[in-house]
């Protein structure tokens, strides 16, 4: 998964550009799969991409079983041919990182660029890191959630 270090982020949105460039072949942040939330007044910038949750609400709420998990890597994937565009997964996602392709009428999440994530590659601030999913990942997520709050305080 893409592990973010919000305290290193400067809100340059380079990752969004790189993401859309990789997946859409053009620079279009409206279709990015990684999102930088910039809370300007609080000076807190938080990049968020799909966490490939251990107990993924998108997966368990999909009526057509279009969302599956790779048993080896743990990666959560939307299978376009089964997706009917009902957006249940978007509603279910606790982090609001499930995106949607209007033209193709399918949901989309971070696909880790097949193991070479462009957002990580483009981030010169080392605010993004590509890490394997581990059983301890809940601790990582908790830490991520707490750090922006600490930075804001």
């Amino acid at each position: 998964m893409i592990l973010a270090h919000p305290q290193k982020c400067v809100a340059c949105h380079l990752c969004e550009g790189a993401c859309s460039f990789k997946h859409e072949g053009a620079f279009q942040p409206a279709k990015t799969r990684i999102f930088v939330h910039d809370f300007v007044d609080e000076a807190v910038y938080v990049p968020v991409a799909c966490f490939h949750c251990k107990d993924a609400p998108c997966l368990s709420n999909c009526p057509t079983y279009a969302i599956t998990r790779d048993p080896l890597t743990g990666q959560v994937t939307v299978n376009d041919d089964k997706c009917i565009g009902c957006k249940m997964c978007m509603v279910a996602c606790p982090f609001s990182v499930m995106g949607f392709q209007t033209e193709r009428n399918v949901a989309q999440n971070c696909d880790l660029c097949g193991g070479d994530p462009q957002c990580v590659k483009v981030c010169v601030y080392d605010a993004l890191e590509y890490v394997d999913l581990e059983p301890t990942d809940w601790m990582v997520r908790l830490d991520m959630a707490e750090r922006p709050a600490a930075a804001a305080g």
């Binding site: 340059c12 949105h13 550009g17 409206a30 590659k121």
Partner: protein
């Protein structure tokens, strides 16, 4: 769909209250790259350079470059062009933030504002939907308040570029502010927007910017990102301490202008320099769109005992000089507070500071009658931070006689009191923070800059002081300065027009930037043709100015720079020998003795 450019211009006629989408002129886009060059071409075609810059016949263009909105390093810039209210010359002010890319995602390379609205309005652009909306409820509000209100009534992800109270009051040093604290600062472009009764342009776009050769483009960008990330300038000084990192250096060599350029070192320089900022007021770094440098400083005043309180962005090096050393203010909290005020009012920190500094010297020398100083409440003298804050308020709201005069900028103020020689600038625009007596190339640059005195039109500091020893030009001689300045001016004109930030170009040279532009747009310019395009842009700006009535008589420096040497510091005994540099400069530019481009020069550049 075109590559690099998105191919459309939004033309808003404010007199009629109409907006229309028209195709971009691609012939011009190819010849003038984009942004600054292309915008100048449109202005040159569409307005009379002799027009009143605050009249409805002037036009204001918000222009992006072909790299704006891509992930080219610092590909987030846009420019505001018009005839400058401060300078009566061509104006092009450059800003970062997120507004420029958003405009391209909405499907426009440029917005052209023409005419004058009968009442205050703002323009709301959501892709193809454009509305001219009433702005009575935000008129008079600061930039921050305006942004919050307009975002709440349009779209939570909208980006906003607009003016503050200064622009509304046609203050000639008013700027345009986007994203709360990024400024298209110079030449009074904010007043031109204010004269059209436009408060802001609010943009939200969901479209795409495409590039011609994705693989090549990607490869060049990743190489450049690596270079930037390894450079001691961009990743070291600028990311580490911001532009404020320069304060210590310029002060140590003696070119940090102090007390309206009466001194070149400042006793409190350390108190307002980069390291102090990092240790005391810095909250964190920020980057503009697509920026791998991250020089912006998000700050807050933490000292609870200080009379100045607040938070915001800044200060940049130029603001530290303008509101700090040039006014003799050595209290960092005061400099920060003045900077925040400038952002809220939307005035240019350089020119506002320069104007206050000129007023201070006029007052100290007794040239301003006592009754004119009555509404000030504070003694107008160097080092008095209270007076700086009060002056900013008076000039923004044009309060009283002094406020009204300061709102006209430093030159007109000094001229009114009979001492225009105490205004430190060129073409009525204030100098930036490098004393040209200690960097002669900067002197030539200030004098010949098309938009009035400016450090970024030909930033020869890079060669005269910042370059490694073996590449350095002696800052105290005039040798080779005309040639260096000309090349820097052409280079910068091309780079600005492409949509990247000057700081990127410290590392990413034209031999990489030109191919990047080619890969984005599908053009095929050699490095030589790229520089040639810069030359063409520079000469077109000059033509605009000549038609506006400017000539050699305006390529000047105040007598303090050419006749009064400083005592102390490394620049001891130095003055700027402008005449010989100017003569050589005109000659190699291919201009006549009065500074008009010759016929064969115009023919060579395709401007005939």
């Amino acid at each position: 769909m075109p590559y690099g450019w998105v191919g459309h211009v939004l033309r808003v006629n404010l007199t009629e209250g109409s907006a229309k989408k028209e195709p971009l002129n691609f012939d011009w886009a190819r010849q003038y790259i984009g942004g600054r060059g292309l915008g100048t071409r449109y202005l040159y075609e569409e307005i009379d350079p002799r027009c009143d810059p605050l009249g409805p016949e002037n036009k204001v263009i918000f222009a992006t470059g072909p790299l704006t909105g891509t992930f080219a390093p610092t590909g987030g810039r846009y420019m505001v062009l018009c005839k400058g209210p401060l300078t009566d010359a061509i104006a092009c002010s450059n800003s970062g933030g997120y507004w420029g890319p958003e405009l391209k995602f909405a499907g426009y390379d440029m917005v052209i504002l023409e005419g004058r609205s009968p009442k205050p309005v703002y323009i709301w652009v959501y892709n193809d939907q454009v509305e001219i909306r009433d702005a009575a409820h935000v008129w008079g509000k600061t930039t921050e308040e305006t942004e919050d209100i307009l975002r709440a009534e349009t779209d939570p992800q909208a980006r906003i570029s607009g003016i503050g109270p200064a622009g509304e009051n046609l203050n000639r040093v008013a700027c345009v502010i986007n994203d709360k604290s990024r400024a298209a600062g110079r030449s009074g472009v904010g007043a031109a927007v204010g004269s059209k009764n436009v408060k802001a342009i609010v943009v939200r776009g969901t479209g795409a910017v495409q590039v011609a050769d994705a693989l090549k483009f990607s490869e060049l960008v990743f190489e450049s990102l690596k270079e930037i990330n390894e450079s001691p300038v961009t990743a070291g000084a600028l990311r580490g301490l911001g532009t404020a990192s320069t304060v210590g250096f310029t002060n140590s060599v003696g070119i940090l202008p102090t007390n309206n350029f009466q001194q070149c070192t400042f006793e409190h320089a350390n108190a307002i320099g980069g390291p102090t900022i990092a240790q005391t007021v810095l909250r964190r770094n920020k980057g503009c769109y697509s920026c791998p440098i991250g020089c912006a400083r998000v700050t807050e005043i933490r000292d609870q005992t200080s009379k100045w309180q607040g938070r915001g962005e800044g200060p940049e090096y130029e603001s530290i000089f303008g509101l700090g050393s040039d006014c003799g203010v050595g209290d960092l909290n005061a400099v920060l507070y003045a900077n925040y005020l400038c952002n809220l009012y939307a005035v240019d920190t350089i020119s506002a500071g320069g104007t206050v500094a000129a007023a201070m010297e006029l007052a100290e020398r007794g040239y301003i009658p006592k009754e004119d100083l009555a509404e000030l409440d504070f003694e107008l003298k160097f080092g008095n931070a209270d007076a700086v804050m009060k002056c900013l308020e008076l000039m923004t709201y044009r309060k009283g006689k002094l406020g009204n005069l300061m709102a006209e900028g430093g030159y007109r103020l000094a001229e009114h009191y009979g001492h225009p020689e105490l205004f430190m600038g060129s073409k009525k625009q204030d100098f930036a923070a490098y004393d040209p007596r200690g960097a002669k190339g900067m002197g030539l640059g200030y004098a010949t800059s098309n938009r009035g005195a400016c450090h970024l039109r030909g930033y020869s500091m890079t060669l005269e002081w910042f370059a490694p020893m073996e590449m350095r030009l002696d800052p105290f001689t005039t040798d080779g300065k005309a040639q260096a300045q000309m090349q820097l001016q052409d280079k910068c004109a091309a780079e600005d027009s492409s949509g990247v930030c000057t700081f990127t170009t410290f590392v990413v040279t034209p031999d990489k930037l030109a191919p990047m532009y080619n890969a984005a747009t599908g053009e095929n310019l050699s490095v030589e043709e790229w520089m040639n395009a810069g030359d063409r842009i520079w000469n077109l700006e000059r033509l605009f100015n000549n038609r506006a009535g400017l000539s050699r008589k305006d390529d000047t420096l105040p007598p303090r720079m050419t006749r009064e040497p400083l005592t102390g510091g490394a620049v001891q005994g130095q003055v700027v020998e402008l005449a010989p540099m100017l003569e050589e400069y005109y000659r190699i530019r291919g201009w006549d003795e009065d500074g008009n481009p010759k016929a064969d020069t115009l023919a060579r550049l395709g401007l005939a």
